[in-house]
Subunit: 577 residues, 2 copies
């Protein structure tokens, strides 16, 4: 059949293996074509292509509930559930998001972007089914590294106890984003090497029946396995040995690089339009490498995303045991850093802001209450970070800056970023967060080698009557707004507040009789810096206007649009004065 005619899973049911094999081949070709032009999660989707076909061939979604973990591995699921045009017609490539999304389709049960959640979410679906005495299959797909997350363990540990139908599909491609290095990955390896028969099976230890599918990209084997567990009346794990990147040689060979990729040449794997502009991520990685070379007490830690923080295979090799990838296990990363700092070491936890959300309690309890002087660096922050609703970097400031005892720094330029990083790593007084600025790298003159636990705000432009406090990556916007105001005869002050977690009250007191203070911050405004300043000056004559990103989960927004809608343009800001 022509894959353009697949409107729902019903259209593939009853096909012969030969026909399915042809469909798989056609889907793969279409997928590679789209991925090469558009970019996306390459390896995860190619590796799980046959399994997705087999799932929809055997199970009856949406009556049978299929919950996908991470959900960046659901492109084929989308192709089979009424959204094939978004993979065939370049004009429609952006009609679908990169994750499951209930607004797109009844086959998508949850919006999921963070890992390790499918089993827990599915356990709620199964509980509802059981309380209602209904009968259908609940299937949780997990893999691509997600088993190392604590939420996945909590889900597995709990869900088997009901003793009813609960099917966990483990997509074992031997990787998270980078290669896995935890005990569980060794357990999976032992199971693969023994054809599923190794002793001390992690899943059996957690109460699951277990079957192993050696050829996890073979449609016949997959269909047979899924048929054997359909309508089972107990919890079972189906362990699939899949090949990440299957069918695209460059993705099979460079599995980490092709976990996610921008547009590329499918023959050579070369990125299209790859830039060699300097980036804050590269700057961080160079800094951390140099610190580690110079000082054996420095340890850089990440949780499953080394490449995303500048630590590709070459840097990891050089850093050796001073670089630690704990796997997708953010809680472990943060608590371990506290342990290292307790011994006087200099840990640096490097993590996208969105994923650090897993660690509110560890930052509060394991770190802040203990005052362990670890450094945390957040990435992909603010409006120029990742723009999927599930991956926003808007919330590190409200989440962390209100925890007592953590100093939250927001550098405004490359020089300040490096100075803050250096200071944070070397000091022994306090836990520090350094927020990697969003957007293009900015350079600026200034005296940045200061003690950030003592110094107050930086006056970037002296002035009177009107002050713009522009934090982090919004400093440039503040300076530009001031220039526009100056063109109108005003003499606005511009301040870099440096901190998101505390106030320089001496400086703020000097502004009490100003006419207007405008605060700018590249994060969700609720719980942020501007509201603290407004409250501190609540009884002063000065008017305070707080601007920042909305308290919302915008999906796939354009940065310029969101900024304009939030009043965050130099013109709009200048118009306030």
């Amino acid at each position: 059949m022509n894959i353009a005619e697949i409107h729902s899973p019903a259209d593939i049911k009853g096909k012969s293996i030969d026909e399915l094999t042809q469909i798989a081949s056609d889907l793969r070709k279409a997928l590679i074509t789209k991925l090469a032009h558009h970019g996306g999660h390459v390896g995860p989707n190619l590796g799980f292509l046959e399994a997705t076909i087999a799932l929809h061939y055997v199970f009856d979604a949406p009556t049978d509930r299929i919950v996908y973990d991470v959900s960046h591995q659901t492109y084929v699921h989308k192709m089979l559930t009424g959204r094939i045009e978004a993979f065939l017609d370049p004009e429609k490539y952006d009609d679908v998001t990169g994750y499951t999304n209930p607004k797109e389709s009844p086959y998508d049960l949850f919006s999921v972007g963070h890992t390790s959640t499918s089993v827990s979410l599915a356990s709620g679906l199964a509980k509802a089914r059981d309380l209602r005495h209904e009968h259908y299959n609940v299937v949780a797909v997990i893999g691509d590294g997600s088993l190392t997350g604590g939420e996945a363990f909590e889900g597995l540990d709990f869900a088997s106890m009901a003793g009813t139908n609960f099917i966990v599909i483990v997509n074992d491609n031997q990787m998270s984003i980078a290669p896995d290095h935890t005990a569980l990955s060794e357990n999976l390896t032992a199971l693969r090497l023994s054809d599923g028969k190794a002793q001390d099976n992690y899943f059996k230890a957690l109460g699951y029946k277990y079957i192993y599918v050696k050829r996890g990209n073979n449609l016949e084997d997959l269909i047979e396995a899924f048929r054997s567990v359909k309508n089972i009346n107990s919890p079972i794990v189906v362990h699939l040995n899949t090949e990440k990147g299957m069918g695209l040689p460059v993705a099979e060979e460079y599995k980490e690089k092709f976990h996610y990729s921008g547009p590329f040449d499918p023959a050579t794997g070369k990125l299209v339009g790859d830039s060699d502009e300097p980036t804050y991520i590269g700057m961080f990685a160079d800094f951390a490498m140099q610190q580690m070379r110079d000082d054996r007490e420095v340890v850089t830690i990440t949780a499953g995303v080394p490449g995303a923080v500048g630590f590709g295979p070459a840097r990891r090799d050089e850093a050796g045991e001073q670089f630690v990838d704990v796997g997708i296990a953010e809680e472990q990363a943060v608590a371990m850093a506290s342990g290292l700092a307790k011994e006087g070491m200099k840990p640096i936890v490097a993590e996208p802001a969105t994923f650090l959300q897993r660690t509110y309690d560890q930052l509060s309890q394991d770190v802040a209450i203990n005052g362990t002087a670890a450094t945390f660096v957040t990435f992909y922050t603010g409006v120029w970070g990742m723009n999927d609703a599930t991956h926003l970097g808007f919330f590190d400031v409200p989440m962390i800056s209100n925890i007592p005892g953590i100093l939250f720094l927001a550098p405004t330029c490359a020089e300040e970023y490096l100075a803050m990083l250096r200071w944070a790593v070397e000091q022994k007084e306090t836990p520090v967060v350094v927020r990697t600025p969003g957007g293009a790298v900015v350079n600026r003159d200034g005296d940045f080698a200061v003690d950030y636990n003592k110094i107050g705000y930086e006056t970037v432009r002296p002035g009177r009557d009107v002050a713009i406090l522009a934090a982090g990556s919004f400093l440039g916007m503040g300076i530009e707004a001031a220039r526009l105001m100056a063109g109108r005869g005003l003499d606005p002050m511009v301040i870099n507040p440096r901190y998101m977690s505390r106030l320089d009250t001496a400086t703020l007191d000097n502004l009490r009789d100003f006419r207007l203070i405008i605060t700018l911050e590249d994060n969700s405004i609720d719980g942020g810096l501007g509201q603290k300043i407004a409250a501190y000056l609540g009884d002063a004559p000065v008017a305070v206007k707080c601007l920042g990103l909305p308290k919302a989960f915008p999906d796939r927004y354009r940065a310029a649009d969101l900024l304009a809608a939030s009043g965050l343009t130099p013109e709009a800001i200048a118009g306030l004065a």
Copy 2:
């Protein structure tokens, strides 16, 4: 020896088993005497008494690092490390906290109050040791239910990979606070029943060597086991079968009741000064029970703390499969609730505010982004909640109220609490947090059966010029302050804002020309409601003063002192106007 002469672990080293047995007996007597008079964690400490002696007999703390999980099981550790007077002299009972605390002793490595952290923290210590090529033992004690927490799994899964000395002592007393009901507890049971030989050993699956100590309250066996693992050059789990409450018959029999207890009669177990005043917790439990009786779609979920939210054994029995204790696994509790709500069920997650901190990301991703209409009820909130630095209920408001898409309600009295709970459970529009008020139960007349997704603020007292916005359990303080002001000829308005997560801008706009607005909130003020109001009115003539609890981790404070220091007395508030 007289246990009063134990000043450090050195004082027990080299003693014979007979002498140690006598010491154990004397320590137990002293501990029971203190616990009966003072209250505290009864069962965990009695059950781990022999193991603690054996740990300090065999290992050489503080050179050997011993990290205790939860750390409410460290009373005997304190008795052996220079703090025996605080267990012998009633005048000094309060000289020690109920948890490990580095400010008290170099033998206490971390302030720990939440569960499941010891392995992760210890993995950082071990990494520091290994990078420095030092040689000592790193020992992580875990148990009393903590293994079910995701952080414990992440730690175990990671820590074994170093392959160096790492000793995990599992204190298996077959309980968390209540009996455990997860797959892992079944795995531990299988190991106990097989004398450690059962197949599919969870710890072996995660890369640990393993030994089992059947008589986990027998000093000789414990010492032998610890000696056999001291200085081992690999990761190993020592699984101790201990008896929670050992040596106090009422605590052995009523393990859940005597996990933690106020002062009690050691012969009968009867609580001293037990009150039958109504409590918000009792009110919640009655409400949830009735909802479950009336409606099979209502499910009450807690994470390991059923008693703390009013669900003792009798209510749990009656609720049957509509009550779910997921074990100490807060992430699972929240994600499961999202799954239930997705199916149109009516889940209620009941959890102390301090422990819900584990779930920032689940609340954001699994719940808020998905808009699943689950109800979350926080307990032990605000200044009248638990007063240990590690257990404060100050932060649920700043943590949760800044997450988009969650409605955070703060009831001011019993009638409003029940009305908000009822509304939250029945509505299908939005995730809702209902904050259980702190302090004594307050009753109040009013029209509380309203649609809390639509209605604005409640005017409790009309007035002019001055407005007091008093949230949740601080409404009474606001009313009293208004009374004092009225006595001075003022006519202050008092407002119940109802919400911590959003503003009633229409009402606030009517206050723009007031002279003064005072906001009162029973939570850490940074990131709270007052700052949002101050920012919203930042350009209005009205002065705004925000009062609330400090951004800090005060330890064992007296509520009256903290309130006075924060300006939170009716007199101080009245003085602002």
